[in-house]
């Protein structure tokens, strides 16, 4: 077991390193950061001085080794645009992104499961068909379009919800939250829906398919034969067994919710890490880009690692095969 965990952890480090190499080599095509730092009429000599002070005139391998040496100690350097440490900037923006991702996931889970169960149980009703149609829209419409449509409906036309930002936030230590103020809650609604819509439709479709599968199994038939109430059969037995793959998927998807919040954050000017990354790309702010990519890959790798380990804990069959393989 320990050997397995260690091996997986080593693999994870390998993945991180590969991401680092790919990211670092891509930055060379992102443009020249010095041009973004100085203005167009800055004399060439002054530009060279800036380049030198950033160490950008060193050979690429030297820059790479220096960067990874620092990254291993969680030193990500200083943002070219903000002249502030990248780690501090990311920490400052993280609560916004996590709060949005969590709200979006909760929204997706709750509505997705409800709609999935309903459309499995009442397959032929009009509402179930409507849910299917909605899920198609959710899967096929791009996120930014949904966001802009919501803004025009609820912010511009109806004036119910704010079109941008986080509203008033409350500070709890280093964490900032919008969940404790009215304007903060209002500001969360549209971005959460936009970000969670795709997950919601995914969960709805998964729940529906799993539920239909489970309802056909023998133990459900026996339960019916024993005369249990429909409610107990559907929610006590069928739904419970449906939820295992759903929870697995939602867990794995949480990583991509965080990573893909980039678009939602841009549309709603949500002050999280995603919009920080987009602005960093536009301004060739390499320290932010690198740190963000490494962080996202860390989230993915960690979630996968935890899931792998949990599987072996939960499922004894896996443990025995691992034992043999080792």
């Amino acid at each position: 077991m320990l050997a397995f965990t260690l091996r997986r952890a080593l693999q994870a480090i390998g993945v991180m390193f590969a991401v680092g190499i790919i990211a670092f080599s891509m930055f060379r095509f992102a443009g020249d950061p010095v041009n973004q730092i100085v203005s167009i009429d800055t004399p060439a000599a002054e530009r060279e001085a800036v380049r030198k002070s950033l160490g950008l005139d060193d050979p690429v391998p030297v820059q790479f080794v220096r960067y990874f040496g620092n990254a291993a100690q969680f030193k990500f350097g200083v943002s070219y645009q903000f002249r502030q440490p990248v780690s501090a900037l990311l920490m400052e923006r993280m609560p916004a992104t996590l709060e949005l991702a969590i709200c979006a996931t909760v929204f997706a889970m709750v509505l997705g499961i409800l709609m999935g169960v309903y459309s499995a149980l009442r397959r032929d009703t009009l509402l179930a068909k409507l849910f299917q149609a909605v899920s198609l829209i959710g899967i096929s419409l791009p996120t930014f379009l949904i966001g802009i449509l919501l803004i025009y409906l609820f912010a511009v036309t109806l004036g119910w919800l704010p079109s941008f930002g986080r509203g008033e936030v409350v500070k709890l230590g280093w964490w900032t939250t919008g969940l404790l103020t009215l304007s903060g809650l209002k500001a969360l609604i549209m971005p959460s829906i936009t970000l969670g819509l795709f997950q919601m439709t995914l969960i709805m479709r998964l729940v529906r398919a799993e539920m239909l599968e489970v309802l056909r199994t023998d133990y459900i038939r026996f339960a019916r034969a024993r005369g249990l109430t429909t409610r107990a059969i559907h929610f006590g037995h069928a739904l419970k067994n449906t939820l295992i793959p759903v929870i697995t998927m939602a867990g794995l998807q949480f990583g991509s919710v965080i990573a893909f919040s980039i678009i939602t954050e841009t549309v709603f000017q949500w002050p999280g890490m995603g919009i920080l990354f987009v602005q960093a790309v536009q301004n060739v702010d390499i320290p932010i880009m690198a740190a963000y990519l490494l962080m996202v890959s860390l989230i993915f790798v960690t979630i996968n690692l935890v899931v792998d380990i949990l599987y072996t804990v939960v499922d004894p069959r896996l443990r025995s095969t691992i034992g043999r393989a080792a």
């Binding site: 730092i37 203005s39 709609m115 309903y118 004036g159 079109s163 809650l185 609604i189 919009i275």
Partner: protein, 531 residues
């Protein structure tokens, strides 16, 4: 199911209950496309940053609504001799922390702005001596006369020496610093607003300065600035009344903002001139099918290109009427004699004939470099140019890239790797000399900084001789005549194809009265907001 329906109803009811609360009056909420990245006034030479910081910091001089130079921290100035400028400082001015403003602060700011970490070194030449005469008089001693010494000083903001020393902010934050300096997160200016809170990239709150030395024309008590990068969201925020002012309004949204009941778009020509240039230096173009020679060295080819471009069509189709075609490389507002110049007429047949005379009856192929996220509709303008030149037989391969890649390729550091390009330029000094020196001067002398932004390398020694004379001529009329003469030379050479000035477009709530300045600095000192 009933669960779902209840939930839906509950959500709807919730949304209804949460209606927007009205904003208090005299608080102006402002959204710009860009961020306020640093509060240090010398760390970024960029107009949006200058505009923001212009609320809290002030220079010795300022510019009024019509860009005329007016006194600010200096009450008056004179030039007792051509190489000595004397500034009389305003008395009784206090920085936001209560420190008095004196000549020492000017001397300190002069050193700091010329520090190696400053991004504003061009504001004051290194060989200018700054001499304190008394506490409220400062002399600037120049090595040679310079009639435009103070022309870009409206954004050379004066800082408090004592405050900077106390907070270890004597030097501007170097780009390679590992921790932010105090001055990049705090301010201490003399201006009419004080920054109450600043979260970079999120929100900045300005409060009116109760101890301001002057009288503020406007009635604002508070400005809340939020960056909104997405065009659609910024417009939506204005239309829904969540913000009062946005900059810029994307061209395609102008009519929608104008037709809304609570907002309008303020439009004016911007000072930036958009133009097209040619590589006239290399003996063979980098990106062309003509080998062994450079067609752009032939003045007839340049003239043909100029005449093939239908600037009115670009104005009506690409810019939707929001551009001012330009005959000069400088905005008419910045050159008194600009009315004496007219743009040569669009003449595709003449262009075709010229091209034949030059020896290219079937045209040729060349790559055009163009940014796609820097100027208003930049890539679309280039596409239009491609189509227009195709009609005289020239095949343009368009390479439109984000500014980060574009500038890396075409600027000096990239080795001027371009054959044919589009660029925009605003002279930071608001004066022709900057245009003549930086983008039209010969770049053949490696030791001089002349022509460093002259991407095509246009070079005419007669022109350069005039540039040098313009720099030291103090008689305005004579100086203008020299500038005129220089522009005539460049037009005869068909050195560049000036296209137009793009339009400024600010979205402003109907409750707000905001004068629009042509340099695109959004300044709220003189803004008023109705209840």
């Amino acid at each position: 199911m009933s669960v779902g329906r209840t939930l839906f109803a509950a959500t709807l009811a919730g949304m209804l209950a949460l209606t927007m609360s009205p904003a208090s009056s005299q608080t102006l909420r402002y959204a710009n496309q860009g961020d306020l990245k640093s509060l240090d006034p010398y760390s970024l030479n960029e107009s949006t940053t200058h505009a923001h910081l212009g609320h809290v910091y002030q220079g010795l001089t300022a510019r009024d609504k019509d860009l005329k130079i007016i006194p600010a921290l200096a009450e008056s100035w004179e030039t007792p001799e051509p190489t000595r400028w004397r500034f009389h400082l305003r008395k009784g001015v206090k920085f936001h922390n209560g420190d008095p403003f004196t000549a020492d602060d000017v001397l300190f700011s002069a050193d700091r702005v010329r520090n190696k970490n400053s991004n504003m070194q061009t504001r004051l030449a290194p060989n200018v001596k700054v001499v304190k005469v008394d506490d409220y008089t400062v002399d600037f001693v120049l090595p040679s006369p310079n009639p435009i010494l103070h022309s870009s000083w409206d954004v050379w903001y004066i800082m408090d020496k004592k405050w900077a020393e106390e907070n270890k902010a004597v030097e501007p934050t170097p780009v390679s610093a590992t921790s932010p300096s105090y001055a990049s997160l705090h301010e201490n200016g003399t201006g009419s607003f004080i920054i109450e809170s600043h979260q970079p990239g999120v929100k900045t709150v300005f409060k009116a300065n109760p101890n301001y030395w002057g009288k503020m024309e406007g009635n604002l008590k508070e400005i809340i600035f939020t960056p909104i990068a997405s065009d659609a969201t910024r417009v939506a925020a204005l239309l829904s009344g969540e913000v009062d002012v946005i900059e810029p309004v994307p061209i395609q949204d102008i009519s929608r903002v104008d037709s809304s009941p609570n907002a309008q778009v303020l439009k004016a020509p911007e000072l930036r001139t958009i133009f097209i240039g040619f590589d006239t230096v290399r003996d063979e173009l980098l990106y062309s099918n003509i080998k062994g020679k450079n067609p752009f060295k032939d003045v007839k080819v340049r003239e043909a290109f100029y005449k093939a471009i239908d600037i009115e069509l670009i104005k009506t189709r690409v810019m939707r009427g929001l551009s001012t075609p330009s005959a000069l490389m400088i905005a008419p507002e910045l050159f008194a004699l600009s009315k004496e110049f007219t743009r040569p007429k669009f003449d595709p047949d003449g262009a075709k004939k010229l091209l034949t005379e030059a020896g290219y009856p079937d045209g040729f192929e060349v790559t055009m470099d163009c940014p796609n996220d820097r100027y208003v509709n930049d890539a679309a303008i280039c596409q239009a140019v491609v189509g227009m030149l195709a009609r005289i037989g020239v095949k343009i391969n368009l390479l439109a890239q984000p500014k980060a890649q574009y500038f890396a390729k075409v600027l000096k550091q990239g080795g001027y790797q371009t054959s044919f390009f589009m660029l925009g330029w605003t002279p930071s000094t608001m004066d022709s000399h900057n245009v003549m020196n930086d983008i039209m001067g010969c770049r053949d002398d490696a030791k001089s900084s002349r022509g460093e932004a002259n991407l095509g390398g246009y070079c005419n020694k007669d022109f350069d001789a005039l540039t040098d004379k313009v720099l030291v001529e103090t008689d305005t009329n004579k100086r203008n005549q020299m500038i005129k003469q220089a522009y005539e030379i460049s037009m005869k050479d068909w050195a560049y194809i000036p296209l137009h000035q793009q339009a400024l477009a600010w979205g402003v709530s109907k409750k707000v009265n905001l004068p629009q300045r042509a340099d695109n600095l959004v300044m709220f000192h003189w803004a008023t907001k109705k209840e």
